[in-house]
């Protein structure tokens, strides 16, 4: 999903929101001590260099790939070739600030901030459906105008992870699994953004949000038979949607052309075919940065956003694109480690939810680029151009750091 302009951080509310479930004093205390903890955790503690390094490397790769895909075109059109490079750098910088802010928050602060974040995300999703929203590529998913444009469907992802972790991670004493009421509440909370995203309609984000919810239910220890039931219900709903024709024509087209993208390379399968050709033509070692004729010729639409992986494929070859995948895998591995060592079920679930989010989103994105999955628009986490996406992903990395920080502190 394209973000033409960087996202500015939202202004910090004057005081933390009070969540009635927790004692107010706890939230206030945690907020007041944050500055002291920052120094300890970053300088004196043991920062997760693996996670920070992998995430940083991915952001850097993203910036380079965005530049490689947009620079030659802009130069050819007589414009500043560094326009998108600069914007993406700004996106990453803003994201880094947000990441640090999340990393410094302890669980109490996170809990306190979660409900307003979730509410804001859902309001944003609601707002895009009003005339305030803008339509891009068949989905009405943008909010704002001019320099500041936000895609609420990206920002709702971390909010959903946190609120589901809160709802599923706090069992009464002695319980090993979330109770039925908790699960139902979690499903209801997930259903709001799911429904709103479907109205845009944005099949990609829908898939990711559904995967996050499903993955967190699994990680929370909900009984397999419940999960099986839920999976069957989801499958039935999908079939029903197909049969009843609830999907938009362009979505049906994309799904159908997936079967053989090269059959109609000029028409509906154009994107898929060009993506596959571009990646495949890179070979083992790639054409060299800025030397790809497919990329330079602008054959892949949306190349710097959802199809940024094709740039790595053509110009850096298997070596480069596999490295990108391995870096993403490293982030997930660190995330799962954080989940396993988390001090509380809340931390475990939050980390697991982020792993599910990144894992599924990476698989869907790269899978569609290499022709394993139909074309649905989702960005590659941390790499694709786009303010909302980069900030949301870095916020998630910040959450992982925060969970780990709690873990380290307790040890």
């Amino acid at each position: 999903m394209t973000v033409p302009a960087p996202v500015r951080p939202r202004p910090t509310p004057p005081a933390p929101y009070r969540w009635p479930v927790r004692p107010a004093s706890s939230a206030v205390r945690s907020a007041s001590r944050s500055a002291a903890r920052l120094a300890r955790r970053v300088a004196g503690g043991v920062p997760d260099w693996g996670l920070a390094g992998a995430a940083g490397a991915l952001c850097l790769v993203g910036v380079v790939l965005v530049w490689a895909s947009t620079g030659p075109r802009l130069a050819a059109e007589g414009e500043d070739p560094r326009t998108y490079l600069r914007r993406q750098l700004l996106n990453v910088a803003v994201g880094a600030v947000v990441m640090v802010a999340f990393a410094l928050a302890d669980h109490g602060a996170l809990r306190a901030w979660t409900p307003p974040l979730y509410a804001l995300g859902c309001l944003g999703l609601l707002a895009v459906l009003t005339p305030l929203g803008r339509t891009v590529n068949g989905a009405q998913s943008w909010l704002g105008a001019g320099a500041l444009q936000v895609q609420p469907s990206e920002l709702v992802k971390p909010a959903l992870v946190l609120i589901l972790a809160m709802l599923l991670g706090e069992q009464p004493d002695g319980e090993h699994r979330p109770r039925g009421a908790q699960v139902l509440l979690a499903l209801a909370v997930a259903a709001v953004p799911l429904g709103l995203v479907m109205l845009q309609p944005d099949l990609g984000t829908f898939t990711i949000i559904a995967a996050i919810t499903f993955g967190m239910l699994v990680a929370a220890g909900v009984r397999w038979r419940w999960i099986g039931l839920l999976a069957s219900a989801g499958a039935a709903a999908a079939v029903l949607a197909w049969v009843l024709g609830l999907l938009r024509p362009h979505q049906v087209h994309r799904l159908l052309t997936f079967a053989d993208p090269l059959a109609d390379p000029q028409g509906a399968g154009y994107n898929a075919a060009q993506a596959l050709i571009t990646v495949g033509s890179g070979g083992l070692s790639g054409r060299g940065l800025l030397r790809g004729d497919q990329t330079g010729g602008g054959f892949v639409p949306e190349q710097h956003t959802d199809f940024v992986f094709t740039v790595a494929g053509e110009e850096l070859g298997f070596a480069g694109s596999a490295l990108v995948l391995l870096l993403l895998w490293a982030v997930l591995a660190r995330g799962l480690r954080v989940a396993a060592r988390a001090a509380s079920p809340y931390g475990t679930l939050a980390a697991a939810g982020i792993v599910c989010w990144f894992g599924v989103q990476t698989f869907v994105n790269v899978g569609m680029v290499v022709g394993l999955l139909p074309i649905v628009g989702v960005p590659l986490p941390l790499v694709s151009y786009g303010g909302s996406s980069v900030v949301a992903c870095l916020a998630a990395v910040g959450v992982l750091m925060s969970v780990r920080g709690q873990d380290v502190r307790r040890l």
Binding site: H176, Q266, G280, S281, Q294, P345, F363, L372
Partner: protein
């Protein structure tokens, strides 16, 4: 701290992540490493284009090197359909803007972009769907500049400087030259390149076209050239030197237009041929009506094409000198005379030119029914007596009657004079004419018998309702044809002897027959092309009209016939047309012909050569529905002769009637070579510096 179920669940997530990433890595390996070469090839097809760099087409010049057709630089606008299709509105807005700038209706441009196929009328695109489609040629510099200024509004539109065909002498020799049209014909040539489709342009396509160069360019998704990978310079086409004399051709076309234009209505059509009897070369060849060949330049418009192919406009696309077929009428008598002499009838014997001649129950009348008394064959030719030839034909037919192998001496002589077969002239689409004989008669009868016999049985019921007498007449003919239509009758033979009935010839066939008579018996396969000369002035190939046969007629007979024909303009049938003509200076010999056509005015012929004693040129004129030979064709021939020799107070087009002996100095460098390839077009890159090549780089990068 961790409870058991969560730990095992995290393991599940771990495994899932591992599986997903291994799947992605495996697929990546498959796509990039295992199938990498295939995709690299597809990518290359995707973003490299072979751009054809057209070669300058060779000139067609006349016998003195005057250009009849040549290339000129012109701005051409073409549209890349693939690029338009990728726009959100499939290029509608772009086409509208382009149409406005060009001052043409948008529908017309859209029509030109449609691929040709069944049910698609002209204009349409016959070339490859990946090639840019030329939509406007000959665009003015002013419009070209405006298009270049607005190039950002016009994605997929290219403004190129391309060679277009130019005809410095306007409509002169249109049928001879033929025309160019884009489309696939030659192998290895780009389908979009204009290719010779008719006339000399088609016949000498391989010599004239040269070899197009090519350039491999990397393009972006909008089809714009980014850089050049490889380049091969084009080889310009050679010059075709013809034996056509532009001045004689002009004289002929003017005379023909005057003669055929006099005919009432649109029926006036005709043809004329001037041939060098000693060499077999064509000096002029014209058909009427003709057309302006420049209508083809830059793609013909629908209305022009409709006019060229419309019956009401006299089908001007048809080259009547080689494609028109008429009964030769009395011009045929040179054949009959030669055949009679060969069969043993003395030339200076005494024959009765009666008013009519009876064969069976049918009376064959002399022209006008005049009884001219006894005479020799000299006089028979001069006054064009028919009955003498009827008698010859009847007697010869009687001799063959019942013979196991009929000699058919008349048909035999006709074929020896080159009738009934194509002359083999270096022009496409030539008609063969027809020499009817027993075999032809039987074949025709077998082909039509079913219908004829059915008509004989039913008796034309639809006609009978309105006109019973006509129906009875038609039924009688059908009955006769059904029963005996396969027989070569004496009546057929009589008609044949005076060039009527089923015999038809083309004007070119008649011209070469008269040339053979004039040159002492050599039958040529005529040629228009004289030599192919390279750009450097080197003669690549000389073209000599091949000799296809010799007349089986003794010199004495030929001289006798020539002598008789020399008398025709003095005191014979053509005397009125040649009144006042200085025959003592230029003795013209000729024969008139008046072919009777059913339900239409007569076809007027005049076949001639001069000087009668030492012939150099043959001139044949036919005017459809022109009346008698003396009324239309002979005056036109007189005008042509006086134009050639400069008589009747005119300037000599070919002084002394002598075509030049050698080749003209051909211009190795034509006027078009010096033009820069992209005047006024901003920033065109990758110009090949080769002289005589055209660059067609699309848009500046």
């Amino acid at each position: 701290m961790m409870r058991r179920p969560t730990r095992s669940r995290l393991l599940v997530v771990h495994l899932l992540v591992a599986v997903l990433f291994l799947v992605l890595l495996g697929r990546l390996w498959q796509v990039q490493v295992l199938d990498g070469d295939r995709y690299a090839r597809m990518a290359a097809e995707n973003h490299t284009r072979r751009v054809v760099v057209p070669a300058v087409r060779g000139e067609i010049v006349d016998d003195r090197g005057r250009p009849l057709a040549r290339d000129r630089a012109a701005v051409r606008v073409s549209v890349d359909r693939a690029a338009l299709d990728r726009l959100p509105d499939r290029g509608r807005a772009v086409l509208s803007r382009l149409a406005e700038l060009l001052g043409r209706p948008r529908e017309e441009l859209a029509a030109r972009l449609r691929p040709c196929g069944p049910g698609v009328n002209k204009p349409c695109w016959a070339g490859s769907p990946y090639e840019p489609v030329p939509v406007a040629g000959g665009v003015s510099e002013r419009v070209a500049l405006r298009l270049m200024e607005r190039e950002d509004d016009l994605p997929g539109v290219r403004v190129e400087r391309r060679p277009v065909r130019e005809y410095p002498r306007g409509t002169l020799a249109a049928h001879l030259l033929g025309y160019l049209a884009p489309g696939s014909s030659g192998a290895g040539r780009g389908g979009a390149e204009p290719t010779g489709r008719d006339g000399l342009e088609a016949q000498y396509e391989d010599d004239l076209s040269g070899r197009a160069g090519s350039r491999e360019v990397v393009v972006d998704s909008a089809g714009r050239a980014v850089r050049t990978v490889r380049e091969r310079a084009p080889v310009p086409g050679a010059t075709l030197v013809t034996s056509i004399d532009a001045r004689v051709q002009a004289v002929v076309e003017k005379a023909l237009k005057r003669a055929a234009g006099r005919v009432a209505g649109a029926a006036g059509s005709g043809a004329a041929v001037v041939m060098d009897v000693r060499t077999g070369r064509i000096v002029a060849l014209a058909g009427y009506p003709a057309y302006d060949p420049s209508v083809w330049t830059g793609g013909i418009r629908q209305a022009d094409y409709a006019r060229l192919t419309s019956e009401a406009h006299g089908l001007p696309l048809i080259s009547r000198a080689i494609q028109g077929q008429w009964p030769p009428a009395s011009t045929w008598k040179i054949v009959s005379t030669a055949a009679a002499a060969r069969a043993g009838y003395p030339l200076d014997g005494h024959y009765d030119c009666s008013g009519s001649y009876r064969i069976g129950d049918r009376s064959f009348r002399n022209f006008g029914g005049a009884n001219l008394g006894g005479m020799d064959l000299h006089r028979a030719l001069v006054v064009s007596c028919d009955t003498i030839f009827y008698r010859f034909a009847h007697r010869l037919w009687l001799k063959d009657d019942g013979a196991p192998r009929p000699a058919d001496p008349m048909q035999h002589m006709a074929r020896a004079f080159g009738f009934g077969v194509r002359t083999g002239v270096d022009l496409p689409g030539e008609a063969a004419g027809r020499v009817p004989d027993r075999t032809w008669k039987r074949e025709t009868w077998e082909r039509t018998r079913k219908q004829t016999c059915a008509d004989a049985r039913t008796g034309y019921p639809s006609v009978a309702r309105t006109d019973p007498r006509r129906a009875a007449y038609l039924t009688a003919i059908a009955k006769e044809n059904c029963d005996h239509g396969y027989l070569w009758t004496a009546g057929d033979a009589a008609n044949f002897s005076i060039g009527q009935g089923d015999v038809v010839v083309t004007p070119l066939q008649l011209a070469r027959a008269y040339a053979a008579l004039a040159n002492g018996g050599t039958l040529f396969s005529p040629r228009v092309g004289r030599a192919v000369v390279g750009r450097d002035g080197r003669v690549l190939r000389e073209i000599t009209p091949p000799v296809t046969g010799r007349l089986p007629v003794p010199d004495r007979t030929l001289a006798y016939i020539r002598h008789a024909l020399a008398e025709v303009p003095r005191s014979g049938t053509a005397a009125p047309a040649f009144a006042g003509f200085p025959l003592d200076k230029v003795p013209v010999a000729g024969k008139t012909g008046t072919a009777e056509a059913y339900g239409a005015a007569d076809t007027s012929w005049f076949a001639s050569f001069a000087p009668a004693d030492h012939p150099r040129l043959a001139v044949v004129v036919v005017v459809s529905e022109g009346g008698t030979g003396a009324e239309a064709a002979a005056p036109a021939a007189r005008e042509i002769w006086s134009g050639i020799y400069g008589l009747d107070g005119r300037r000599a087009a070919l002084p002394g009637g002598r075509p030049p002996a050698g080749l003209p100095e051909t211009t190795g460098v034509s006027e078009t070579d010096g033009l820069p390839a992209a005047i006024g077009l901003s920033g065109t890159t990758g110009l090949s510096g080769t002289r005589g090549s055209w660059d067609d780089t699309g848009r500046p990068r």
